[in-house]
Each structure stands twice: as C-alpha cells, then as structure tokens.
C-alpha cells in the first residue's frame, strides 16, 4: 500500500510544463534535492533563484554579491549538502576567487555554479565568454540547449559533482535562460545531506595542501575528458559536412544545416577528444558553430585537425541565429516583407525611430540625474536602472565599468586631479578640463554588492569624494529583488535592514544625509554643499521605485493649456509621460503615475493634479 501511495504521488507530480530555461534549471536542481541556494540577481540568471525560492524544502537567499553567494554554497557543499549559486557572466568575475580554489578543494555534497552569459549584451556591460573560466579553473562545464536539457543537466551536474569531487558549472546563455520549451517535470527526491567529515588536507588550501590537490585536479581533468565522450549526441552521421556545436547554437544549426552531420557537445569542459577526433575523421568538411570566442574551434585545431573552420564564417560578436549562420556560410539572405507605397512615401524599417529603454515615469532617479545634468558635474556611474542617467536628455554620467566601480573611480579621479594640481603650480588643471566637481552615483543594492569597500578606501586614504547612494528600496533593474537594505528576505520574511547612514558613519564618513531626490531645491543644495566639503560625504537619495507595490501617487497630472506658455521646461525632465502635442505639451494619461515631480518645473503652475 505504502509503495502504491508513493507512486501515485510521483505520478501526480509529473507534468509537462512550458518552462523558461532558468525555471527548468531550478526545477532540475530542486528535484535533485538541492538543499542550499545562494545567489545575487543578474540578468539573464535571476529567475533560477526566484523559482527555487517558491519551492518547498530548499533554503534560498539573495546574498550581497556573487563572491559571498559562492562561498555560502561552497560551505554548504563541504558540510555535505547539495548547494548551488547562480549568477550572470560578470558575476562569475566576482565569484572567480572562491571558484578557482574550490576547484582544488572539491566538494562533499554536490556543488553547482549556474552561470548565464549574455551574448549580444541584452542587459550587460560586456560580452564575455565564461567557458574560459572552466578551462582555467579546471572545473567541468555543462551546456544545455533547451529547457528540457536545463532540467536534465542541472540534475546530472549534482551527480557529476559528487562522483568526481568537483564543483560543476552549468553554462547558460540568454536565449536558453529566457526561452520556454516543454519540460517533463517530476517530484523532488529526498537526498540526505552527507555526513560532514573534517579533512584539513582537502579543505584548508595552504601551499602544502594545495600542491597535492593540484595533482588531484590534473588527474580529474584526464578522467573527465573521457567522461565528456559520453556527453555527445551524433545527428545524421555519415554526411560530407560535419558541424560541432553546443548549447543554443545546436538549435540554430538544426535549422541552418538540416542535412549536415552534427556532433552536439553537452560537456564543454573538458572537451571530448576522442569523440571530436572520430567525428572529424568521418566528414569531409568540418565547421564549429559557437557564439563569442573560438573556444571549441581552438581546441579542435590543437588536436591537429587543421581543416576545421568556424570564426572564418561566424562572427565572434554578439549572438548567432539561424539566419546569421545561413547568411554567413551560404551568403544568401532570406526574403522578408516590405511595406507598400500606400498613401505616400514607402516606409522602411529604418523609418522606425529608436526606442531605447528609459527611466520610468515616477522614477526617483530622474530627480538625481536632472540635478546632476543641471549642475554639469562629472559623474562616475554604476550598474542598475540608473545607468540610464547616461542617456539623453540627462547625459549625466561620465564612466560606468562594473558593479561598485563608481566609488573607486571617483576617488581615482580626485587623486589624479590632486597630483596634477600639485605639479601644475598656479594653474588649475580641473578648471582647464572644465570639471566642476565629481560625484559617484550608486544604487542601494550595488552599494551593498561592492560599494562599501570603495567607501572605506576613500576614508582610509583621505579622499573627499561625494557618493550619492540611490536608495529606491529595491534592486530595480533585475526585476525587484530584495537586498540587505530592504528589510525583507527573498521569501519576504522580515529581517534586519542595513542602515546606510550608520554604515557610512561607521566606516568614518561624518557628512551623511538623507535627501528626497524629488525635492529639487533641497537635493541641488545638498549636492552643492557636499561637493564643496573638504572631506568624504554620502548623500542618500531616498525615494522608492515607482514600480513597487504600495507606491501609489494617485491620479495623473495634466497640463492646463490655457496657462501653459509652451516654454518646454517640463520636457527637460525626460519623462516618457510628458509629450509634445501640436505646438504645446501634454501628459500621456496612460503613462503618468501622478508623482507630480514635474510640477516643480513649471514656473506658471500649468501642471496640475487631476481631481
């Protein structure tokens, strides 16, 4: 009876669902009994952890950054649990330090790094290829090509990790992470945590121990190279044209070259030497189709297979696609629809105006960037929605590199100016460069991620930078995740919020103040005062994201056309809800959230709240 019940339950749990690749990774990890998941949000990886947080039996958290999340997962795995950390490609840069040495220490419970690359930079500051991390850290890497494989590979990643005593990287790309395809889901298996065993020689990586582990890693690489041979799929054997590919490119290849022989790789580090050699020998022409760098192609050449081609045809820039691949190889383009000449000039796709992302109506960052653009300050920026402060009409950002960099860059600029000033004698190099002052701008979550150390550096090294923390009570860009300043966990439980004022004071910043960025006068005064101060300062620009539940400004505003003098001052805010109408201006009611920020711009009082 008991057995029958169990089977019923697992049958009930079985269902075909249309899952995002990320949701499928989460489902796979969950069914594989993952115990601990710690991540920092980052497009296109965020939904893995968000999905897991809604499932029972697994501990999930947002940690302050990817390095911490990796360390949490490593700790849990050493303790004997199945653990995972999820991040975007640039997040792996942050987590690289723990990854490289965890590769030596190995695991106890299974340990998986889910890393999502973003070919084509849909939502990223660079286009890096994470496969080289696997190569240089000597960590096996799996690459799924659709949601069903995301589900399958996530489960197998834990098994591989435990069997071969190594962290495993599950490599995703945007089009795998953010595409839905059917997945046959099942029930969660209960995988008991392994017993913890103290093993100093394995887990304490000092030179003496690490040298011994190096040899273990070398041998593991050799064994896994053979394992990789069982991770291939051979399609249409025996044709003249052969293509080696993996991940999303496999799907494009199926469409672009339906008649070719295809060697699809599931494990992309180590690469399967024997399978590749045999495949290469079986075809007359050999191509590698891969996005970004010639990672597989270089390996194939290293095997002495000189006739392979890849990047000769397929660009290393951005993402590939069926059409791009066909076009590059065959030199033909698929015909597409064209507009007619109905009623005037023929329209072409190029006539469509650009539609870049913008700060939302009601966005609190608008107050900050309008002010900074008015003051013509130099602004070191950071990663988040507010990077859009660089866009027109504000253009109020001078540099943006990576998470947390705004603070270090501002300090570096200040020190460079100081050296130049000392060398120049009487002249002022800053004035010559038209620099009226520099501020760093960083979001609350980004500050928690990697801004704190930059602030410590300013205080320690006698800087006088002004740091503006944009505290909108949420992690905005990635779709509203909680962070250490919000007072809520990933599961929306109450927790202790980090107090930004106390934190800044604790590291030695004495000039700390909270200002509402929608109070234009007060905000401008605060910025002017702080940039003139001869010591470090922190301005916390505090107002919640307009998209947050609970933010309700009521009715939209309108422009009284009888009062409006058509001066266009309101347009300078760059609010999508304020539009040109005829020779005057109006409010798009469907977009206006009623924040009334724009009313400050009108000297004539023409912008009013609807009653």
């Amino acid at each position: 009876m008991g057995n029958t019940d169990k089977m019923d339950n697992s049958d009930k749990a079985k269902a075909v669902k249309l899952l995002l690749g990320n949701e499928a990774v989460a489902q796979g990890a969950w069914e594989a009994g993952v115990h601990v998941v710690s991540s920092y949000p980052g497009t296109p990886s965020t939904e893995i952890t968000e999905t897991l947080a809604k499932l029972p039996g697994v501990y999930c958290e947002w940690s302050p950054n990817e390095k911490v999340s990796a360390e949490v997962a490593i700790g849990a795995a050493i303790d004997g649990a199945r653990a995972m950390c999820c991040m975007k490609h640039v997040g792996l840069n942050v987590a690289a330090d723990p990854l490289f040495t965890a590769a030596y220490a190995g695991v106890n419970g299974g340990l998986v790094f889910a890393v999502a690359d973003d070919p084509g930079l849909f939502s990223s500051q660079n286009d890096q290829d994470s496969r080289f991390y696997a190569l240089s850290a000597h960590v096996p890497m799996l690459e799924p090509s659709d949601s069903a494989e995301c589900f399958e590979f996530a489960q197998k990643a834990f098994e591989l990790s435990e069997k071969y005593d190594t962290p495993v990287i599950l490599r995703l790309t945007t089009r795998v992470s953010h595409s839905r395809s059917p997945v046959q889901t099942g029930a969660r298996r209960v995988v008991p945590k392994k017993p913890y065993v103290k093993d100093i020689s394995k887990y304490v990586m000092m030179p003496g121990m690490a040298k011994k582990r190096q040899a273990v890693v070398k041998e593991r690489d050799r064994v896994l190279t053979e394992v990789a041979d069982s991770w291939v799929r051979l399609v249409n054997p025996g044709r003249k044209l052969g293509i080696i590919t993996s991940g999303i490119c496999y799907q494009y290849v199926r469409e672009a070259f339906p008649d070719a022989s295809v060697l699809k790789l599931g494990m992309i580090y180590p690469l399967p030497e024997r399978a590749i050699k045999e495949f290469a020998a079986s075809v007359e022409e050999l191509l590698v189709v891969e996005e970004l760098e010639p990672y597989i192609e270089n390996f194939v050449r290293q095997l002495g297979i000189a006739y392979v081609e890849g990047k000769k045809y397929f660009t290393p820039l951005g993402e590939l696609g069926t059409e791009k691949i066909k076009n590059a190889y065959y030199g033909v383009s698929t015909p597409a629809a064209e507009a007619g000449e109905n009623g005037g000039e023929k329209l072409s796709v190029d006539d469509a105006p650009h539609r870049p992302p913008t700060l939302c109506p009601g966005c609190p960052h608008r107050g900050v960037f309008y002010t900074l653009s008015q003051l013509k300050l130099r602004v070191t920026g950071d990663i988040g929605c507010y990077t859009l402060g660089a866009a027109a009409p504000y253009k109020a950002m001078d540099a943006c590199i990576c998470m947390g960099a705004s603070i270090g860059m501002s300090h570096g600029m200040e020190k460079a100016e100081a050296v130049a000033k000392a060398e120049a004698g009487d002249t002022d190099p800053a004035a010559a460069d038209n620099i009226r002052g520099t501020v760093a701008v960083i979001g609350d979550s980004t500050f928690m991620h990697s801004g704190i150390t930059g602030l410590v550096n300013i205080v320690y090294n006698k800087g006088a930078s002004t740091v503006i923390i944009l505290d909108n009570s949420i992690t905005g860009m990635t779709g509203h995740q909680q962070n250490p300043t919000t007072g809520k966990t990933i599961r929306m439980e109450d927790t202790h919020p980090v107090d930004l004022v106390l934190l800044a004071r604790a590291v030695g910043v004495e000039r700390v103040r909270i200002v509402d960025p929608f109070d234009l006068k007060a905000f401008k005064e605060a910025v002017l005062e702080e940039i003139s101060a001869d010591e470090p300062s922190v301005i916390i620009a505090q107002r919640p994201c307009a998209l947050l539940k609970g933010v309700n400004y009521g009715k939209p505003v309108y422009i009284d056309t009888d009062v409006c003098r058509r001066c266009g001052a309101c347009m300078r805010l760059g609010c999508p809800a304020i539009v040109k109408k005829g020779d005057g201006y109006g409010i798009d009611r469907s977009l206006c959230v009623g924040c009334e920020f724009c009313t400050q711009m009108c000297r004539f009082g023409a912008i009013r709240k609807e009653s």
Binding site: P44, S181, Y252, T334, G340, P393
Partner: protein, 202 residues
C-alpha cells in the same frame, strides 16, 4: 495558417504585457499537443524599450528565435513597432497591429521623428495588415492593461485551426482569477473586431 509550423512574433513597448501574451500562446500550443518554444526578453529593455518575443509552434521546433523573413504573423502592440518588425515577416504574412502610438524618448526629445499614419502606409506591401484600436477596446472592457488580450482575441480569429475553446481554456489558466472577467471580455472583443474586419485581408 498552418498550426504545424506557425511563427508569431510579438512586439511592443516594455510594460505593455507582451510577456503574458507569449505565455498565453505557449499555453495554447501545449493544449494543442504541439511542440512550442517561446523566447522572451527580460531586463534592461523592459524599461520602456522595444520588446520582442517569439512564439514558435509546430511538430518539432529547434530555434526559439524568429529570424528574418520567418514570421507568419507579427502581432504588434504599438503602431511603429509593427514597422520595426517587418524584417521578421514572411512575404505574404500577416501584421496585426494596434494603432496606439507611444512616443519613444528620441521622438519626445525631438531628436527623431515618428512617422505618420504607419498602419495605413504599411498596407499595400507584400503582406496583409489588420489594424485596430486595441487600447480603446481594452478601455471599453474595463482596463487599458487588457490591450494584450484584445490583440490575442484578434489573433485567435486569424488561426481557425485552433478552436476558440482552447484559447478560452488557456486564458483562464494564464490570467489571475481576479482579472479573469475583464480579460474574458477583452478576448471576445478582440475576436469580434477581427470578424468585423472580414477575412483578415487588407
């Protein structure tokens, strides 16, 4: 239209509900026992940018992406976005577009121009166009946010191979219960508007 090889590109402006539309279509395909892939856009472009999602339905789908000249249907939530997506449409394909205009920031700031009478001028090309004011229809149903479901109602009428009951069942599963009534009205309004337009030809 052939439900064994149907490529639908949905395009709109971030915040217009294109994601729900693509999930709706994906669910319809699953109910029809078809293979399906849906490609979504998340992150940066959602902030008022142009957002494309692809839905591919058939017996065996490989790429989740609709490339140049592959779409049977472009379902556009905004006037100029229909134009932007033309390169994806097959010659002989169908454009269903909302006539609503949402001005992009470069137009608002005066750096670029919004072309005039786009839906009208699209007609006469080597494809069919159905244009309609889905925003007005959605508002009549009780919420401007139902533009997406109105447009899906129009689309459903263009694909008679998929029975209306399947769409209706799917709607119930993808829309939150408290918004179901409004969305049901919106869906039927879309179907009626489509029928009013005859056989979806231009």
């Amino acid at each position: 239209m052939n439900a064994d090889n149907l490529n639908i590109l949905i395009i709109g402006v971030g915040g217009q509900g294109t994601l729900l539309a693509s999930r709706f279509l994906g669910d319809v395909a699953l109910r029809m026992g078809k293979d399906v892939k849906v490609s979504e856009v998340h992150g940066m472009s959602q902030r008022g940018g142009s957002v494309e999602t692809c839905v591919r339905i058939g017996s065996s789908i490989a790429s989740p992406i609709i490339d140049r000249g592959m779409a049977d249907v472009v379902l556009s939530f905004e006037s100029v976005e229909a134009l932007r997506a033309l390169g994806y449409l097959k010659p002989g394909g169908l454009v269903i577009t909302n006539t609503q205009e949402i001005l992009p920031m470069p137009v608002i700031s005066g750096a670029e121009k919004y072309p005039e009478r786009v839906p009208e001028r699209l007609a006469g090309g080597n494809f069919n166009v159905v244009s309609l004011d889905a925003l007005a229809a959605a508002e009549r149903c009780g919420s401007a946010k139902c533009v997406n479901v109105v447009l899906l109602g129009v689309l459903s009428a263009a694909i008679p191979e998929i029975p209306a009951e399947v769409w209706r069942a799917s709607l119930e599963s993808v829309v939150p219960a408290k918004l179901l009534e409004i969305n049901k009205k919106a869906f039927e309004a879309g179907r009626q508007m489509a029928n009013g337009k005859g056989q979806m030809a231009n």
